[in-house]
C-alpha cells in the first residue's frame, strides 16, 4: 500500500487533536467539580466561572468530613461494598463453575432464567423487595443492603465467569481426579486461581455497584446510623442547596476510593469488560 508519509502525519495529528478535544469534554466537568470544591465556602456563585481558584483551600473537605458523621457513612459503604463483593463473587464463581463444568437437567432453564433477569430493570423489583425486607426484619440494616446487592450482581457475574471458566483447560482438573481429589479440590485449587483475572473484574464491578448504589439504599434505610455514602451525598445536597463547593467536596471524598481503584487496577476494569462482552 502506498502511503503518503506527510499526509499520514497530518491525519494522525488531526486525530490526536480531535481525540484531545473529546477527552477535554469528558474530563472538564470533573475538573470543574474539583476546582469548585477547592474554592472554599461560597454562597454566591461567581461569574465568570473560574477554573483555578483564587485561593486554594481544603475548608470544604474538612467541613464535609466533619459534618454529621461522614466517616460513619464511609465505613457503612465500605462494609457493604466489601461484603457484597466477597459473597457475590464467591457465589457467582460456584454457580459459574456448575454451569461450565456440569451437565444437569434444568441447566438451560436456570441459565436462561438468570440471563432473563438481566433484561429487567432492577428498580422494577423495589416494591416487593421492600416488603420482603420488612417481613424479614432487614430494613435499616446493612445486611438488608448486602443481600439484595448480592442477588442483583449474581446474574452478571455468573455470566462473566462462566464464559471464562469454560475456556480453562481440563487437563489440570483431570490430574486432580487422578490424584483422588474431588470437585471441591478442583474448584479451590485450580479453577479459582486460574480465573483470577475474571474474578478480579467481577469483584471490581460488584464493588463499584455496591459502593454507588443509591435507590435501594435510600428506600431500605431511614436511620442515619446506617446510611451509605450515595444517599448521604444526595441528602447533603438537599440540606445545602446553594453550597456547591461543600457538596462537591463530599462527592469527591465519596468517589475517591473508586478513582483510586480504577487507576491502580485499570487493566481489570477494561480488559474484563471487553472480554465478557465479546464472548457474550
Amino acid at each position: 500500500m502506498v502511503t503518503n508519509p506527510k499526509r499520514q502525519i497530518v491525519e494522525v495529528a488531526v486525530l490526536y487533536l480531535l481525540l484531545g478535544a473529546g477527552a477535554v469534554a469528558m474530563v472538564l466537568p470533573l475538573l470543574y467539580m474539583v476546582s469548585t470544591a477547592l474554592k472554599g465556602p461560597v454562597y454566591v456563585l461567581e461569574i465568570p466561572p473560574r477554573f483555578i481558584p483564587e485561593r486554594l483551600t481544603l475548608a470544604n473537605f474538612i467541613e464535609a468530613w466533619n459534618s454529621n458523621n461522614f466517616s460513619l457513612y464511609f465505613r457503612n459503604s465500605a462494609v457493604v461494598a466489601l461484603s457484597t463483593t466477597v459473597i457475590s463473587v464467591l457465589c457467582s464463581a460456584m454457580l459459574a463453575y456448575a454451569f461450565a463444568r456440569f451437565e444437569f437437567p434444568g441447566k438451560d432453564l436456570a441459565f436462561y432464567a438468570i440471563l432473563f433477569t438481566l433484561m429487567i430493570p432492577s428498580l422494577t423489583l423495589i416494591i416487593p423487595q421492600f416488603m420482603l425486607a420488612r417481613a424479614l426484619g432487614l430494613r435499616n440494616s446493612l445486611a438488608g443492603l448486602v443481600f439484595v446487592y448480592v442477588a442483583m450482581t449474581i446474574p452478571l457475574n455468573t455470566f462473566l465467569l462462566r464464559g471464562f471458566i469454560e475456556q480453562l483447560p481440563r487437563e489440570l482438573e483431570e490430574a486432580v481426579w487422578i490424584d483422588g481429589g474431588g470437585y471441591g479440590t478442583i474448584f479451590l485449587r485450580i479453577t479459582l486461581p486460574l480465573s483470577a483475572p475474571a474474578l478480579a473484574t467481577a469483584a471490581i464491578f460488584t464493588f463499584l455497584f455496591a459502593w454507588e448504589e443509591f435507590t435501594w439504599a435510600l428506600t431500605a434505610i431511614d436511620v442515619e446510623a446506617m446510611r451509605t455514602l450515595p444517599v448521604a451525598i444526595a441528602t447533603f445536597h438537599g440540606a445545602h442547596l446553594t453550597q456547591w463547593g461543600l457538596v462537591f467536596a463530599a462527592s469527591l471524598i465519596a468517589i475517591a476510593p473508586v478513582i483510586f481503584l480504577y487507576v491502580m487496577l485499570q487493566r481489570y476494569f477494561i480488559v474484563g469488560l471487553s472480554a465478557g462482552a465479546l464472548k457474550g
Binding site: N68, F104, P105, A113, R134, N140, D222, V223, A239
Partner: protein
C-alpha cells in the same frame, strides 16, 4: 431403574414452583375483615407509671434548618437530657424535600420514628392513615396543654373529633422588603395594598432588566394562597365539600391573572416556573426587592449575609384583606412507637416555656400564649408576625391535601407559562379537586 434425569429436572422446575408458591402464599398486609374504608380505631390506653425504668431511646425526626438545628442540638437537647437522664433522644435531621417520602416509606416499612416535628399539612393525612396516636386520649394532661396554646395552630391537629398532635411552632409569611432597592427607586414606605404593590413594582423594574420586584419558588399552596386569599378568593367552601365556584371563582382567577401579569411585565422572577431561584441570595444582592418570608430569615441572614438588613411589613391587602398563610409544625407520636411514655415526656418538654423560648431565639415562633411577651422581647420582629397570624389561614386540613396541592401546583404552572388562560385552567381543575374532596 431410577430416573435421576426426570427427577432432577423436576428439582429445577421445583425451584420455580417454590418461588411461585411462596409468592402466592406470602402474607399480605394481614387482612382483617372490616368495612372499607377502615375507620381509624382509637383505643383507650390506661397510662401506667410515668417514669420509664432503664435507659430508653426515642427517635425524633425534624426538618430544622442548620441554624435551628444548632440551637436544638446545643441547647434544647442537653436541657432535656439533664432533666431526664433515663431517656435518650436520637434526633435526625431530614431535609424538608424528602421528609414526607422518607416518612411514608418508614411507616410502610414498619420502622417509623417515635416522634416527629411534622409540617401541619401532613397531620390529617397521617391521622387518616391510622399512623398516629390520638394525644387527647393517650395523654392524661392533654387538656392542660390544650389550654395553653393558640387555637389556630392547635386546630391543625384535629381530625374526626380527636387531636393527633400538639402544635410545636407556628409561622406565617410576611412581606420582606429591601430598603436599599426601595430607596434607589425613590420609595420610602412598603406597600399596604396590592395596588400600591404594583406601583412599587413599576418603579423597581425601572432600576434594571435584571432587577425583580418579587420572587417565589413555585406555584404550590404556600406560595399562591396568600395572594388568592388576599384577593378574596378561595380553594373550597368552608366545609371543604366543593371546589367548584371557589377555585374557579372570579377572585381566584383574578389572583392568578395578577401573578401572570407580574411575570409578563418582568416584575416576578422567572424562577417561579421551577428552575430554582436563590431568593435569599437575590435579596441580599439587591436583585430582588420583595419576598414573602417567614421568621427563620433573620437567623439565616445573620449567618450568611450579615451585611444585609431585613425589613418586615404586612401582606399587601386586596379585596379580601391582608391574609397570609399559616404554617408551622406539630409534634406527633406514632402508633408504632414502643416507648410512648418516654415520648410523651419529650413532647411535654418541647412544649415547655423553656424549650419554646430557646427555639424562639432561632426564629421559631412559639405556640404558647404565656410566652408571647418574652418571645417578642427576645425577637422584636415577632410582633408583626403575631399581628399577621391573627388573620392568617391554614391550608386545607384534608387527608388528600398532598394530591390536591400537586394538581394546584401544575395548574399554576400551566397558567404562568401561558399554556392556558387562568379561567380555563381553573375550570378544568375544579372538578378534579371536587373528586378528591369526596374521598375521605
Amino acid at each position: 431403574m431410577c430416573q435421576p434425569k426426570a427427577f432432577a429436572f423436576r428439582i429445577g422446575i421445583g425451584w420455580m414452583l417454590l418461588a411461585l408458591l411462596a409468592a402466592a402464599c406470602a402474607p399480605a398486609a394481614a387482612p382483617t375483615p372490616g368495612p372499607s374504608p377502615t375507620p381509624v380505631v382509637v383505643e383507650r390506653v390506661v397510662t401506667p407509671t410515668p417514669t420509664p425504668k432503664g435507659p430508653v431511646t426515642i427517635t425524633f425526626w425534624h426538618a430544622y434548618n442548620p441554624e435551628e438545628t444548632k440551637v436544638f442540638n446545643e441547647q434544647v437537647l442537653p436541657a432535656f437530657h439533664q432533666k431526664f437522664p433515663n431517656i435518650r433522644i436520637e434526633a435526625q435531621q431530614v431535609p424538608y424535600d424528602e421528609f414526607r417520602r422518607k416518612l411514608l416509606t418508614s411507616i410502610a416499612g414498619g420502622t417509623a420514628p417515635d416522634v416527629i416535628r411534622s409540617d401541619i399539612i401532613w397531620v390529617p393525612e397521617l391521622a387518616a392513615m391510622g399512623a398516629l396516636e390520638a394525644l387527647d386520649v393517650i395523654m392524661p394532661d392533654f387538656n392542660a396543654y390544650k389550654e395553653k396554646v393558640f387555637p389556630g395552630p392547635l386546630s391543625t391537629n384535629l381530625w374526626q373529633g380527636h387531636y393527633y398532635g400538639l402544635p410545636l411552632d407556628t409561622n406565617t409569611r410576611l412581606l420582606m422588603w429591601n430598603k436599599e432597592m426601595y430607596a434607589a427607586a425613590g420609595i420610602a414606605e412598603p406597600p399596604k395594598t396590592i395596588d400600591e404593590f404594583l406601583r412599587v413594582c413599576e418603579r423597581i423594574k425601572a432600576l434594571g432588566r435584571d432587577k425583580y420586584c418579587f420572587a417565589d419558588g413555585g406555584t404550590y399552596g404556600w406560595a399562591v394562597l396568600p395572594w388568592i386569599w388576599s384577593f378574596g378568593g378561595d380553594l373550597t367552601d368552608p366545609e371543604m365539600k366543593t371546589a367548584s365556584g371557589y377555585v374557579n371563582g372570579p377572585d381566584t382567577v383574578a389572583a392568578y391573572e395578577f401573578l401572570k401579569g407580574m411575570l409578563d411585565k418582568g416584575y416576578l422572577h422567572p424562577g417561579i416556573l421551577g428552575g430554582g431561584v436563590d431568593t435569599a441570595g437575590g435579596f441580599a444582592r439587591d436583585e430582588i426587592a420583595n419576598l414573602l418570608e417567614g421568621p427563620w430569615m433573620p437567623a439565616i441572614f445573620a449567618a450568611q449575609y450579615p451585611q444585609k438588613q431585613i425589613q418586615w411589613a404586612l401582606m399587601p391587602a386586596g379585596k379580601g384583606g391582608s391574609i397570609s398563610v399559616v404554617g408551622g409544625e406539630d409534634i406527633v407520636l406514632f402508633k408504632q412507637s414502643r416507648n410512648k411514655e418516654a415520648a410523651l415526656e419529650f413532647i411535654r418538654f418541647m412544649l415547655s416555656p423553656e424549650a419554646q423560648l430557646m427555639m424562639a431565639r432561632a426564629g421559631q415562633v412559639p405556640v404558647r400564649t404565656d410566652v408571647i411577651e418574652q418571645a417578642v422581647q427576645a425577637q422584636p420582629y415577632f410582633a408583626l408576625f403575631f399581628e399577621q397570624l391573627k388573620t392568617a389561614r391554614a391550608r386545607l386540613p384534608h387527608p388528600n391535601w398532598p394530591k390536591i396541592e400537586d394538581l394546584l401546583t401544575s395548574t399554576g404552572q400551566a397558567i404562568l407559562r401561558g399554556e392556558k388562560g387562568a379561567k380555563e385552567a381553573l375550570d378544568e381543575l375544579a372538578p378534579k379537586i371536587d373528586a378528591l374532596l369526596k374521598q375521605q
